[in-house]
């Protein structure tokens, strides 16, 4: 049963707030602000009581699905469990109710936390400097690409192009373009790895950087990474790592040790902070020594016993966030790293990889596996067998909803036809993986015996499959009084 928009609830005169009376002598508003600046006295917002408000949003929450409700193997997104102690830490008053511009003397706790988190990420990444400023992965990519430009400009030539494999996340080319670079797409080899010959051909003195994801979006480790980094560095270009898949590498290898010059960390993936239905995330960047002067300000420094915000970095690309990035997310990531320590982090990636390989083994043969060998923290199948019966990866994802699982990422990476990208993470138990595999196998059988049930899925959610084309053709992007009547209400 759908839920009516909040604008169709309540009644005139109802309210869900209380405020103190005005305790200073009141002056008419138009005596304080010229009347031509003033509105006519009301804003078209809901009029609901507190109980109506709470029921509305509680009911809406029940139409949503999060990691706390069940398995969420959305590939590339690392939907691991979000520990509750992180949430408690973020709610502490000194962390939640502190103003970003209050003096440094009054902010030593926050600055210490940031200083130490910078140090943790340097150690985990094998890098020399970290800036916590970017608010999400793509924001980190933009910062990183601007660092690339600043570095090359300092050397006299910003260079023109950035090389990106065809398996990359869409944010990579979008971020490099925003930094003013032309994009050259590098085709992947038939093994799903960077095609070294292609790369060698494309790398020249116009090449500013190469953006790689390792393990890549097929879930494979770029095993020639050492050689790749040599080829790129010999041409004077920089090597950028999209850290979306860092959950495969903790305590196993480090971006810096592989030859990467810049990496962005997705704290909302690898470091367990909740994804918030699409943010807030956090995307700090780490760099090697020669790029340190260029990273976004402020950096947290320590002089004597005192922590301070260092803006005095003349070569920095500048600020990329209004204040210091998503501090509340930093608190959660810091809490996670302190809970786990090196010993705990060691278990994270190894179990993530074990879980992914277990799923891969169980589904092999039932779904087409484009790349053999071991996978890292995620495995990518193709619905090629099912496509022959007229069923697509998209249909399978919809049918999985009926089995109570959030579907994997589908139709990405673009280089795999009908891709199904499964990332179980380390926080899932074997029984959960088994139940998920059982569902995938059952769906594959349905494709053989009753494909329509898959093609028309989901059958059990609050709505059936939605007409996404209509949403563009007849845009309805905000509630308006009469508009809701044009759509049949349930």
């Amino acid at each position: 049963m759908s839920i009516k928009p909040i604008f169709e609830k309540g009644a005139p005169g109802r309210k869900a707030y209380s405020l103190p009376d005005i305790d200073v002598p009141e002056v008419e508003i138009n005596k304080l602000i010229p009347s031509q600046f003033l509105n006519d006295g009301f804003i078209n917002l809901p009029e609901v009581s507190e109980v109506e408000l709470i029921r509305h949003f509680t009911r809406l929450s029940q139409l949503n699905f999060g990691v706390d409700m069940g398995f969420y193997p959305l590939g590339s997104c690392t939907m691991k469990y979000n520990p509750k102690v992180n949430e408690e830490a973020a709610k502490l008053s000194g962390l939640m109710n502190s103003h970003p511009l209050q003096s440094e003397n009054l902010s030593q706790g926050a600055l210490k936390l940031m200083y130490e988190l910078e140090a943790f990420l340097k150690e985990i990444g094998g890098l020399d400097s970290v800036s916590l400023q970017p608010a999400a992965g793509a924001h980190g990519e933009l910062a990183g690409m601007l660092v690339v430009r600043a570095y090359h400009e300092a050397n006299g030539n910003p260079r023109k192009k950035v090389l990106i494999p065809d398996s990359a996340h869409g944010t990579n080319p979008a971020s490099a373009a925003l930094a003013g670079y032309d994009i050259v797409v590098i085709k992947s080899s038939k093994d799903g790895l960077v095609d070294i010959d292609e790369l060698k051909r494309a790398v020249d003195t116009d090449c500013a950087a190469v953006m790689l994801t390792n393990p890549n979006t097929i879930g494979l480790f770029e095993k020639d990474i050492f050689f790749i980094s040599k080829v790129i560095h010999d041409a004077g270009a920089l090597l950028y790592m999209d850290g979306a898949n860092l959950n495969a590498l903790l305590d196993i290898t480090r971006p810096g040790d592989m030859g990467f010059d810049i990496v962005h960390f997705n704290l909302h993936k690898t470091f367990s902070t909740p994804h918030g239905g699409g943010g807030p995330g956090s995307g700090p960047i780490g760099v090697v020594e020669k790029l340190s002067p260029f990273i976004p300000v402020p950096i947290i420094e320590k002089g004597g016993d005192k922590y301070y915000l260092d803006y005095n970095r003349p070569h920095s690309i500048g600020s990329i966030h209004g204040f210091y990035g998503n501090f509340g997310v930093l608190v959660r990531a810091y809490t996670y790293i302190r809970r786990l320590g090196a010993k705990g982090l060691k278990e994270v990636s190894r179990n993530a990889i074990l879980n992914a390989n277990y799923i891969k083994k169980r589904l092999e043969g039932i779904y087409y596996l484009p790349n053999q060998g071991m996978c890292m923290h995620e495995c990518v199948f193709s619905a090629k067998f099912q496509k022959a019966k007229g069923v697509h990866a998209w249909d399978i994802s919809k049918r999985l909803q009926d089995y109570g699982f959030h579907p994997p990422t589908v139709n990405f990476p673009l280089i795999v036809d009908e891709a199904i990208m499964i990332e179980p993470t380390e926080t899932e138990a074997r029984e959960t993986l088994d139940k998920f595999c059982d569902a995938m196998i059952a769906i594959a059988k349905e494709v053989e015996t009753d494909p329509e049930i898959v093609k028309n899925a989901p059958h059990t959610r609050v709505v059936k499959r939605l007409d996404e084309a209509q949403a563009v053709k007849k845009p309805n992007l905000r509630w308006q009084k009469n508009l809701s009547n044009t759509i049949k209400n349930p």
Binding site: P5, A16, Y17, L19, D23, I33, F37, I43, E47, I54, S61, N64, G66, D68, E88, S93, L95, H99, P100, L106, G109, E123, A135, A174, A177, I225, F226, I252, D257, H268, G276, G277, G278, G279, I320, H321, F323, F327, G328, V329, R338, L340, K343, N357, K361, M376, F412, E426, E428, R461, V463, K464, L466, E468, Q470, V472, P475, R478, I487, P490
Partner: protein
């Protein structure tokens, strides 16, 4: 480890099923020369009990607005947050979900974003809003870029009365594209329209102002929009959402894009983030907009449902030709703002705005009467205002700290010409008694006879 269910027995069984003998066998594609050959140098793990103690210790090293009386704003505000906001946000069906790519399983979040978009449109007087940007600063930078796409021009004109931190972020965003930026000087605390009219030309892509501006003063928004339009430029207004409780919307005044910091709408100060960039525009420009957008549609039975829409603008489809690189945004923060706006409703936002205005006005007049302090700008202000001091502003701040008052922003940090000027913010949370305490301290430090 409580976050990892696999026991050694589980691991053995799984390895056996895979057909290898150890986890190490699964790592064989990773060349030995890049393998980590030492233990990570990190602090020893802490149990939950020890960890919370440690975190409380860090927390106690920070001042907070529960223990201090704050008159500091300058882009982040100490507004009251109704209890309902944090209670809705703590629903883990919401906060442990991700981007609603699978619409049928994410109807709850999608509907809240649809409601959020509606409320932002109502608040700004615009026709379409996106699902959020990182913060006010990045929303403004993205708005400027959108303006260059709309006009196919490059020159960006921005008032120097716009938050200086936002202007820095704009500069960073433009480092690669190299679009020229011209700053317009302010006069008497508001944008100098005469200077603007001399600088603007038919090459100008966008004109950006903030209202109320960084000094808390109200701009002549209508005149500036008219001037921008006369030259075919896009007018971008950076708005304070609380002020919109009483002010005419920028949409009504003809703005093309309205952005701003949504933090005042029920978001804790969080030492600067996560915050919320709200972003609204005219429908005719929707295909030039950055960010996610949710639309209502129907399922095959004709039932109403919600999904992400106009996705062909976005990076996962358009890649380097996308309108923005943004992917993960601030949806949970947008949900907080939605709950806040629903709670305050038709009348509450006006009540909050009026409380801010009355208290600000009271404080401003009281300070005006003090020896050693002047109010340098005569333009009307909303919840912030500038005070010029005869005593060095650092000394004043120190004194206020000792009284557990956070006393506002020293403007000299951002505007060298405004040394010994303080920007004070007064929200609905400040009682008359709080204001009297501030006045008393200011009076004492300037040597007023009390």
């Amino acid at each position: 480890m409580e976050y990892i269910p696999n026991t050694p027995e589980d691991q053995r069984e799984m390895l056996k099923a895979i057909g290898v003998s150890s986890i190490e066998d699964l790592l064989r594609d990773i060349p030995v020369e890049v393998r980590l050959k030492k233990d990570l140098n990190l602090p020893e793990p802490l149990s939950e009990l020890e960890l919370l103690k440690e975190m409380k210790n860090l927390s106690s090293m920070n001042a907070n607005t529960e223990d201090f009386i704050s008159f500091l704003g300058a882009g982040a505000y100490d507004h009251f947050i109704p209890s309902v906001v944090s209670h809705v946000l703590s629903r883990s069906e919401f906060y442990t979900a991700y981007t609603p790519y699978q619409a049928e399983m994410s109807q709850g979040f999608l509907q809240t974003i649809y409601e959020y978009q509606t409320m932002i449109c109502e608040l700004t007087g615009m026709e379409v809003a996106n699902a959020s940007m990182y913060d006010g600063a990045s929303a403004m930078a993205e708005a400027a870029l959108m303006g260059t796409r709309i006009t196919k021009r490059e020159e960006i004109i921005i008032s120097s009365a716009v938050n200086p931190r936002y202007r820095k972020v704009l500069d960073t965003y433009l480092r690669g594209l190299k679009y020229p930026v011209k700053n317009i000087k302010w006069d008497n605390g508001i944008t100098d329209i005469e200077k603007l009219s001399m600088v603007i030309s038919d090459k100008t892509a966008v004109v950006v102002i903030q209202n109320p501006n960084f000094f808390g003063s109200l701009e002549d928004v209508a005149a500036i929009i008219e001037l921008a339009h006369r030259h075919g430029a896009v007018a971008i207004i950076v708005a304070d959402p609380i002020a919109l409780g009483i002010l005419k919307t920028a949409g009504e005044l003809g703005a093309d894009i309205v952005v701003g910091e949504g933090q005042p709408l029920g978001i804790p100060l969080n030492f600067g983030g996560p915050y919320l960039g709200f972003f609204a525009a005219r429908m005719e420009h929707i295909r030039k907009m950055p960010g996610r957008i949710v639309g209502a549609t129907t399922d095959k039975d004709g039932n109403v449902g919600y999904c992400l829409t106009f996705q062909t603008r976005e990076q996962h489809i358009k890649r380097e030709r996308a309108t923005s690189n943004i992917c993960t945004n601030e949806d949970l923060v947008a949900l907080a703002a939605t709950v806040y706006m629903a709670a305050m409703g038709k009348h509450g936002l006006r009540d909050v705005a009026n409380l801010c205005l009355q208290k600000m006005s009271y404080a401003k007049n009281k300070i005006r009467e003090l020896k050693g302090y002047t109010i340098p700008f005569s333009a009307p202000t909303f919840k912030e205002f500038v005070v010029k001091t005869t005593v060095p502003s650092e000394k004043i701040q120190e004194r206020l700290y000792s009284e557990k008052i956070i006393g506002g922003l020293n403007l000299g940090t951002y505007y060298p010409e405004l040394k010994d000027h303080i920007l004070l913010s007064v929200t609905e949370k400040r009682s008359r008694q709080d204001i009297e305490r501030l006045i008393q301290c200011l009076s004492q430090v300037a040597g007023n006879v009390n």
